[in-house]
């Protein structure tokens, strides 16, 4: 009989899952291989250090292997793996920093949950086309990583899950143990802050050296070319 509801696990995955559960431990790597990058990025979104992230992934995957019988196939396998990786990374960060990592909690502050946006987007020139071919790959990578580092961890992890990993809002909420409403609020802030951090480089020029970007229409007093909306 066909099982009701959506199918979260592909037939190929289901077959591999069954084999691992039947004792073919060696099949486990084959099962997780398609998600290697996703789980690495998940670990990186919390710890931001390649060596630590790699260790976290290894420990998380051992944990996943042990916990495999408890995977109910009611979510995507990738989401489940990311969840375990996130938990492992958070435990590690908690241990290392010896203080609570706030990000697992619900809205950290009353202001976050309220409708107010205590944030004002900086204004740069319009740029509808990304001249990405004009940018050095490495330069872009460094700029991206710097921008990500500038985000508060609770915003960064949401941005990484939704916009880097392309998980859905629902999957992001599940992976991070947050409410969907919280994910949406954090995502807004993260995206606006990422734009603030990256738009000058793309609009101006990273290639001209540091801090050489143009703020064509900085927020504040309008510059001469500012056209007030009619």
């Amino acid at each position: 009989m066909a099982s009701p509801g959506p199918q979260f696990v592909t037939d190929a995955e289901a077959a591999l899952l069954d084999r691992v559960l039947a004792g073919e431990r060696d099949c486990f790597y084959e099962l997780i291989r398609p998600y290697e990058r996703a789980i690495f990025v998940a670990a990186m979104s919390i710890c931001r250090n390649e060596a630590d992230a790699e260790e976290i992934v290894q420990e998380a995957m051992l944990r996943a292997l042990t916990a495999l019988p408890s995977f109910r196939r009611q979510s995507k396998f990738s989401t489940w793996l990311i969840q375990i990786t996130i938990n492992e990374a958070r435990m590690r960060v908690r241990k290392d920093r010896k203080h609570l990592y706030e990000s697992t909690d619900e809205p950290a502050s009353p202001t976050e949950a309220s409708s107010g946006l205590d944030y004002m987007p900086k204004d740069y020139a319009d740029w509808r086309e990304i001249p990405s071919e004009a940018l050095e790959r490495n330069e872009l990578r460094v700029a991206l990583q710097r921008a990500l580092e500038s985000l508060d961890p609770k915003y960064r992890e949401v941005f990484m899950m939704r916009d880097v990993q392309k998980l859905s809002i629902t999957e992001t909420a599940a992976a991070l143990g947050l409410k969907e409403a919280t994910v949406k609020i954090r995502l807004l802030r993260a995206r606006l802050q990422m734009r603030d951090a990256l738009a000058p480089g793309i609009d101006g020029a990273w290639s001209l050296g540091e801090n050489s970007y143009r703020k064509v229409r900085p927020w504040g007093p309008p510059p001469p070319n500012w056209r007030k909306p009619k």
Partner: protein, 79 residues
Amino acid sequence: MTLIEISCEEVWMELSNYIEGDVTPELRARMEAHFRKCDHCTAIYDGTRNIIQLVGDFQAFDIPKGFSERLQARLKKPE
């Protein structure tokens, strides 16, 4: 039908949901009317959308060399 005007701040609050396609048709129409006459918000919208596209397309995080081999080896080790 006349659309009720929307402020810049209201547009920013909903920008992320707008990009997600997660706004009501009415709000969408109000925001689009706002974009037509507000260069500032249009620039913010374009910029934000571009960033999302950029990070989505760009392989910002490559797996370190030897990562897969080390992971495989670790999984084989008895616990």
